[in-house]
Symmetry: C2
Subunit: 274 residues, 2 copies
């Protein structure tokens, strides 16, 4: 077991809240995500505005995957000592741009001086129908949005010192909020793909106690590409047409690649950030 | 203006929520605080359990100062790569001990691998009567709890490589929760003393648009000692006896050192973490 999982296990035995993209309490969902320099990004890879925007988006992605609409954000930002006022303005603009786009109010947080840029965000969202990882039922179809694999490729390029497009999903995740809210009533289980499809499938398997029958072999480059922030979800077959029609309306590519069966699924690949 | 304040200003113009120890939304209070290695502590100074406990306590202190009872916590913990399972257990125990003491449920967060131990906590609290920094009225008495100055002294000792007592407030803040909840109905303005009395008084002055008439000169060592996590509050004179009696009951030393007057107060000392 890796250290992160071991640490989380120290708490998860004592609470029913841990184990999803967010913790649901009444009609609110709470989710926190760290976005740290040299852990999630290197400063040469993205502008300060892009860094702040991505930090927000990866948190909002959690809310969407729980079928919750983000309302408020708390930003804890550790700022390198050498940042200028212009740097700080760019950083703030990244947070504000995404907050505006998703109608989120920034209500507080903490700001400190540090060696590197480390961002922690808590998002408070609202839902009337939270969707959990544990909701998959035997016979569900299993689907992910968009395409997978480009983030892994782009990350490789960055490590080789090459440039990538500012339109790369690694720079700016493409969330599918409105599509997902629309189909949410048909969904049994969902989560976002932050650690790679195989790893997320393992999470669904563990939480829902199901295995998967894959319709085709999934390429390693697709199954292990992290930071994609696409949605992975399962739904009863009878809702297929409604979901396909919503996908068409919102121009969201769908990949229905498996169905849930009795059994379990474990990936042989390791979960890793770079 | 320092960088932290400049950064916060980028957001505070657009929202009414920023400017107190926590953000109040309906009957909930949200507060986030960072507790970072080499910013707020050095690992030689405290055990891992003490570090985790203090990270929780400084956050709970914000809730108390707003007259809110903490309910839930989200922990974002960046863990050095060389930590053993035993280290992680100690760290987790520090969080859990304080959570239990204050009846807080740890509902989630994020765990990542990092160069140093950086903790960000969000606490969700409940209040029926939030107390703000902006509530002070002309003629209020101004008071702080406990004694001030030892944290500055202890911090100096630590920087000289000396040991300090494990009972030092710098290691374990002594919060006055039950006392403060009991007197809260008599209080006009409150906040906790994290950056030193003079700096907190400046915050009250700015938020409440008042100055202070000091009954005696306050020593620099008292006025500039940070990380005290004592309570600073103002109240109408007519409630003095009830507050004194509650202080006696809870064995909380009170220092009534000023009254609020027309005017403003600015400290000439700088706000600084070490």
């Amino acid at each position: 077991m890796n250290k992160e999982d071991f640490f989380i296990e120290q708490f998860s035995k004592q609470t029913k809240f841990i184990g999803d993209d967010g913790a649901v309490i009444k009609d609110l969902v709470y989710s926190s995500d760290a976005f740290f320099e040299n852990v999630h990004f290197k400063k040469e890879w993205m502008s300060l505005k892009q860094i702040a925007a991505k930090a927000m988006l990866v948190n909002i992605s959690d809310a969407i995957a729980m079928n919750a609409r983000p309302l408020y954000a708390l930003l804890t930002v550790a700022i390198p000592k050498d940042y200028t006022q212009s740097d700080l303005r760019k950083l703030a603009n990244g947070f504000k741009k995404v907050a505006k786009e998703y109608n989120i109010q920034i209500i507080g947080g903490d700001t400190i001086s540090n060696e590197k840029l480390d961002i922690s965000i808590t998002i408070i969202s609202k839902t009337n129908n939270p969707i959990y990882r544990s909701g998959a039922r035997i016979g569900d179809l299993v689907c992910y949005t968009g395409d997978l694999g480009t983030c892994k490729k782009d990350l490789k390029k960055l490590f080789k010192g090459k440039k990538i497009s500012s339109k790369s999903k690694f720079i700016k995740p493409k969330l599918k909020a409105e599509f997902f809210y629309e189909i949410s009533k048909y969904i049994n289980a969902s989560l976002d793909i932050s650690d790679g499809l195989f790893f997320e499938l393992q999470r669904v398997s563990k939480a829902s106690k199901v295995g998967f029958k894959f319709f085709e072999k999934i390429d390693e480059n697709i199954g292990t590409s992290g930071e994609e922030y696409e949605l992975l979800f399962t739904f009863p077959k009878k809702h297929l047409e409604k979901i396909m029609s919503a996908a068409k309306k919102h121009k969201v590519p769908l990949n229905i690649f498996a169905k849930t069966i009795k059994g379990s699924f474990e990936t042989t690949f390791k979960n890793h950030h770079f």
